[in-house]
Structure formats: structure tokens, C-alpha cells
Amino acid sequence: MAAEHSPLAQFEIKRLVPMDLGGLDVSFTNASLFMVVAIISVTLFLTLSMRSRSMVPGRMQSMAELSYEFVANMIKDNVGSEGRKYFPFIFTLFMFVLFCNLLGMIPYTFTVTSQIIVTFALAAVVFVGVTAIGIAKHGFKFLTFFVPSGVPFVLLIILVPIEIISYFVRPISLSVRLFANMLAGHTLLKVFGGFVIALGLYLGWLPLGFIVVLTGLEFLVAFLQAYVFAILSCLYLNDALHLHH
């Protein structure tokens, strides 16, 4: 099987415009291309649909308003009124991940969120940002976050390290969740696509039917993972702001 037909070939980075900035590789790759396409799509979607600014929204305007209110309610329910300041960031994060996931559903496109480094960078920004907000707000008291209240001292010896580990694992779990979902879905689609060709006209219909069902599931996963990424960011932000345990 040639490398070109491997189920993982779709995840390969191709340098479309090789560039170098003081020894740093800043080439414009296929991943870069779809990041740009994603942010242009998000911007066009949210501005063109709101152009008419009608009292009674049409379909597109409804969708734009719905995404706005979806994220706004997510922050209101999970963080509270203090989270309003962080709405632009969470909204950007949600829309970016959602559009990268959805663009990846179009055949022959590149799925940016199937790159572990991209999802990890996003998760790391959330983790570092949230930790910085917590320390800026509570100072030294932020460390009490790792000490569960109402627990005997002996148990604290075990629980505090667990809390600390679980806190630092957050960016990894957050990034791997999105990455693994995208990777698995797209690989599976490609593998079953290969089966369609391999089994031919008689038995090829079975994997084809499976691909149809899987495509529907993948659209759900695209939405769900963007939602999960955004809501977990909200929960982490809530922890940093309120330190409750």
C-alpha cells in the first residue's frame, strides 16, 4: 500500500509556501491554509448573516444569533456574571474549533483539529490563561484549590498530590480528547473508504452504508467536541475564579 493511500496520509503536513524567519520554519502549510479558511468562514458567517440586522431573523441570522447565545448561556450557567469578560475568548475558541471540525468534514480538506500540536496549543493557552487568572485573583490563596476542605489530615497526604496531578493533566486531557476524536473519525472514514474500493461492486455497499452512518456521527462529533472544549474551558475558568471544592 503506497504512502499516499494510507489512512493517515490525510494528516500529513504539506508546505505550500515554504518560508523561513530567522531559522524558524514559518511555512504556509495545508494546515495554515485551513486555519485561514476557518477564520474567514467564521467571520463571513457572523457578519454577512447579521448584515440585514432584522428584528425577525432569517435562517442565517438565526444561526449566528444562536451560536452567540449558545456560548453566552454556557458562560452564564457555568461561570456566572464574572465570566462575561471572557466571552470573546470562549466564543472565538468555540467558533474556531467548530469550524475547523466542520471544514474537515468536506472531502479532500484538511482537519486542523486532528493535529495534536494544534489542540495542545489551544488547551495550553486555556490552561495557562486560567491559572494566571486564578493567581491574579486569589494570589497565594490559589494554592488552597489543591486542598480539599473537610478531609482528615492523613487523607490530605494522598489527596493533595492527586489534586495537583489532576490539575496539570487538564491541558493534556483537553487536547487529546479533541485530537483523538478527530483522528479516529477521519481515519475510520478513510479505512472504510478503502474497503469500498477493495470489496468492489458486490460487497462494497456494506462499508459504503457504514460510511454514510459514520459521516452523520462525525458531524455530531464535530459539534460535540467543539462544545466540550468550550464548556471545559468554562469549568476551568469557573474553578479559577471561585476556587470552590
Binding site: 476557518a38 457578519t47 447579521m50 449566528a64 472565538t92 474556531f96
Partner: protein, 163 residues
Amino acid sequence: MPQLNIADFPPQLVWLAITFVILYFLMAKLAIPGISEVLEGRQNRISSDLEEARRLSEDADKAKADYEAALAEARAKAHGIVSELKASVAKEQDASKAELDAKLSKKAKAAEAGINKAKETALSHVREIAAEAAKSTVARLVTLEVSDKDVETAVAASIKGDA
């Protein structure tokens, strides 16, 4: 796995940073204000419309109360007029009845007087006729001239005896 090729990390991180920051500013400065303005405008419109509807409904309630009050007043007035009219009609009727009664009793009295007079006249005539008859009868039976005075005395005595 192609995702773990470390040589591919720098261009992705650089372009992720560029695109994400651009998107953040586009959202914060362009898209979010646009949407929130429309949503706020709609919210204001809805609340002002609700306010207007509430005001109109209050006006309608007030108009209904006014109408009912006017209706009750008119009804009371009409009732008053009717009872007044009834009273005045009854009074008038009483007056004309009393007048009629007086007239009738006067007439009855006059008629009674007439009857008494006629009776008296008749009674006096009865005497005369009786005297005449007695005189002529006596004259036929006894060819004897009886003086009017004697006859009259006799008749009066007989009537007195009868009475």
C-alpha cells in the same frame, strides 16, 4: 503518525497564533458587537412592546369601567324618571277620581232632593185626588152636598189612621 513529526510543529504553532489572534480581534471588535446590538435592540423592542400592550390594556380596562359606570348611572336615571312619572300619574288619577266622586255625590244628592220633592208633591196630590174621589163617590151615593172642608178633614183623618 504524521502528527508527531516535531519538524512540523513550528509552522503550525506560528499560523495557529496568527489566525487565532486575528479571529479573536475580528470577533471582539466586529462580530460580537454586531450580534449583541441586534439582540439588545430586539430585547428593548420586545420590552417596549410589552409595556405598550400593558398600557393599552389598562386603558381598555379603564374605558370599560367608565362605560359601566355611565350605564349604571343612565339606568338609575331612567328608573328615577319612571318612578317619578308613575307617582305623578297616580296623583293625577287620585285627584280626578276625587273630583269625579264629589261630582257624583253632588248629583246623587240633587237627585235625591228631586225625588223627595216629587214624592212630597205626589203625596199632596194623592190627598187632593183622594178627596176628589171621596167627594164624588159620596155625592153619587148620597145626593148630598158635602163641603170641601168636611171631606178634607175626613180624608186627613183616614190617612192619619192609615199612617
